[in-house]
Amino acid sequence: MTATAEAEPEVGAVESFTVTLKILRHDPDGLDGREPGTEYWEEFEVQAHATDRVLDALHAIKWEQDGSLAFRRSCAHGVCGSDAMRINARNRLACKTLLKDLNPARPITVEPIKGLPVEKDLIVDMEPFFASYRDIMPFLMASGPAPERERLQSPEDRERFDDTTKCILCAACTTACPVFWTDGQYFGPQAIVGAHRFIFDSRDEGEWDRLEILNDKAGVWKCRTAFNCTEACPRGIEVTKAIAEVKRALTSGEV
């Protein structure tokens, strides 16, 4: 062991640092003499700890510096999927991204997710995204009388679609997709993941209704396997793989 000149940090102490957040703001009302609908970058400095997430920094800005900053968040713990945003040019959940993992020495850029109309600051209109999800009929379709108890399924049958049950509809995948950026008609990765969850569910009987919808001009064949969705997913879902499985079901005719 060699002795170090610097003093060892106190055991259990949390590192503290100053971080700059560069936020792409959108002002629909035109306050402070701006044109309505102006987009501009604004920088904020926040004192943060190593345990703080981007969401904590956004809270600090909203609560202590500029109350007009608008963003969505609900649970703040990576479950509700409300606070997907583009942080340092990648789609992430603000509540699952630690500031210390983003190189706090440089300004951290925060933008709204791309491809959906911005309403204010980091808030986008999610309606086109949810409309695509509704289109693939995300509910159990079964014939015959409902059983008195639960519909049983073997662990192997459950495993088949386990990955796509993790989706929280945060839109990080769909708004990371280059095809969705240029063509808003494309269903997008999330709707295909949502369909995959029911198509490969042994209890569901609506698989061919959903597959026929995804065989559409705006369906799975628009996918160019860019893998942006898989990289963006905060839940670690293998989105591109799920899309490929839907393509295979359509080409082979077997689910």
Binding site: A131, D135, V179, E212, N215, D216, K217, W221, R224, T251
Partner: protein, 153 residues
């Protein structure tokens, strides 16, 4: 508070099945033709550049010799058609993705289609009507033909 109105986000095409099939066959064709092209092109490169004297053997006589064999005529014809349709299909997908204005999209799609047809027709004509030693009306060799023609006729 009123419940949000549920509306269909996109115009459904009148004949969804036909359109869907076109997309699917386009996707499958791209993959199948790609695999065949890999085999065709690498064999072509191997035969032309590695076998025999390699790249230095390629001249008019070499091409004439290959096209005297129906196998190579069909080989080159398959490469021509597959490469042109594969490339045009890929460009069609790019145009679909990025040309948003209908008139621009239609113009580019037609330009692509016409270019493909013209090149395939011209290329096929060369492959199938190629004659290394053309004769004139009196049955003699035309002037300017390569010297090996005298031993052929």
């Amino acid at each position: 508070m009123a419940a949000p109105e549920l509306t269909t986000p996109r115009q459904r095409p009148a004949n969804l099945r036909t359109l869907g099939r076109t997309q699917r066959w386009g996707w499958m064709y791209q993959r199948i033709s790609g695999v065949i092209l890999i085999a065709l092109i690498f064999t072509h490169l191997f035969v032309n550049l590695m076998v025999g004297d390699g790249v230095s053997q390629i001249d008019f006589a070499f091409v004439a010799g290959k096209w005297a064999d129906p196998l190579w005529q069909w080989w080159d014809f398959a490469m021509l058609v597959l490469a042109m349709t594969h490339g045009t299909n890929g460009m069609r997908i790019l145009v679909d993705d990025y040309a948003r204005r209908p008139w621009l999209r239609a113009t580019l799609q037609w330009a692509l289609l016409i270019t493909m047809v013209v090149i395939i027709v011209l290329g096929s004509l060369v492959i199938w009507t190629f004659d290394a030693c053309p004769l004139d009306s009196s049955g003699d060799l035309m002037p300017g033909v390569p010297s090996f023609c005298e031993s052929v006729v």
